[in-house]
Symmetry: C2
Amino acid sequence: MGNNKQIQNVSKATIGRLPAYHRYLKERQGAGEKTVSSTAVAEDLHLNAVQVRKDLSEISSVAGKPKLGFDISELIEDIDRILGYDNVTDAVIVGAGGLGSALIGYGGFKNYGLNIVAAFDNDPERIDQVLSGVKVFDSNELVKLVRRLNVLIGIIAVPKAAAQGVADALVEGGVRAIWNFAPVHLSVPENVAVKNEDMAASLAILSKRLAEILYNEK
Amino acid sequence: MGNNKQIQNVSKATIGRLPAYHRYLKERQGAGEKTVSSTAVAEDLHLNAVQVRKDLSEISSVAGKPKLGFDISELIEDIDRILGYDNVTDAVIVGAGGLGSALIGYGGFKNYGLNIVAAFDNDPERIDQVLSGVKVFDSNELVKLVRRLNVLIGIIAVPKAAAQGVADALVEGGVRAIWNFAPVHLSVPENVAVKNEDMAASLAILSKRLAEILYNEK
DNA sequence: TAGATTGTTAATCGATTAACAATC
DNA sequence: TAGATTGTTAATCGATTAACAATC
């Protein structure tokens, strides 16, 4: 019942699935549906039905109804609130090269509650450019600007040799969460969250599955 | 003992950590070290020492020596072999826009055993371009070309509306593993592996940790 | 030798899945 | 009403962590 479900209470595994539910629910809503059953969600997303039922009942502020299922717009609101999609958070990105500019250009992060307010680079050719509406500043200004803008999230998209230095600067500027696209382990204080986007790890897992598949049909 | 450790026997969680070990070991090797203890690895990568010891003993073809630790170059070779970093696999990428060209330009995948041999796009402005040495072909040629090149891995970096169609074409061409950067669930036959690079899910998990940190010091 | 570090067994933890009664 | 679908408890699974004897 209560309307105060908090992100803290929801398991990490469930949180990781919420974006997929959100996309799916938006899609069904767009198709004019009003309710959805966990059975249907499970089938379409290729998940276990019990898992979906548990996830949805855990996050839903309104109980599902036997025979009917869950109210789609209620669920969407709940996920919006839990993941903070409704109140956008500011972030900065460091590194305006290939990956950095792709991330800036993607633009879709706004839908996920993330608003990139500034980019940083130390290449004079990139400084002062405006990429997809985001201005590139000199890395020297990072600490000062991050502090002034009161930004809590930093995205690292620099070559690996530079990543730790950037992390240090972000922390010094007051950032409390770092999304790291550089293939290195970052050392940060305990009270700063780091999420590594480790492409090599993803690729390793995909290769493992591929190897299994090929092996099984040998 | 035996030199035939296979990727199949190693747990998924361990596989996911191997790339980080690999990077770390390369670094120590570069610094002139010959052996390394799991205690040291654990400390530097902020992992649990028992976990590291278990991972390393699981993958190492040569047992670690009490007091000394593991032989660095042996470990590197073992990981190379398990993850297939030693025998490069060909892949194609579909979508040569912002993210696609960033991935192509990254180039570092070769170190991870992945060689991008062709790109596809349906935008006439992009077709026939050569990005970082990779030629962009017309998407119409995808099935034919993938089949002819005998490529087993496909990378999807197209807008979400196009992703399922691309997946179908890749499968038709004979691809057995798909690395999907589009924010959609793909339906593929059972004997095709899919690894979703779900940025929204990563971001959700990072936001959760940030929320916890801020909550705890409220 | 002494002790740092290994390998392995057992305990714990978190997440998934199975089973089933409750109910719209 | 009948039955599809929920919510919840218990069983299972995989992964992590703790404990400790073996050993270079």
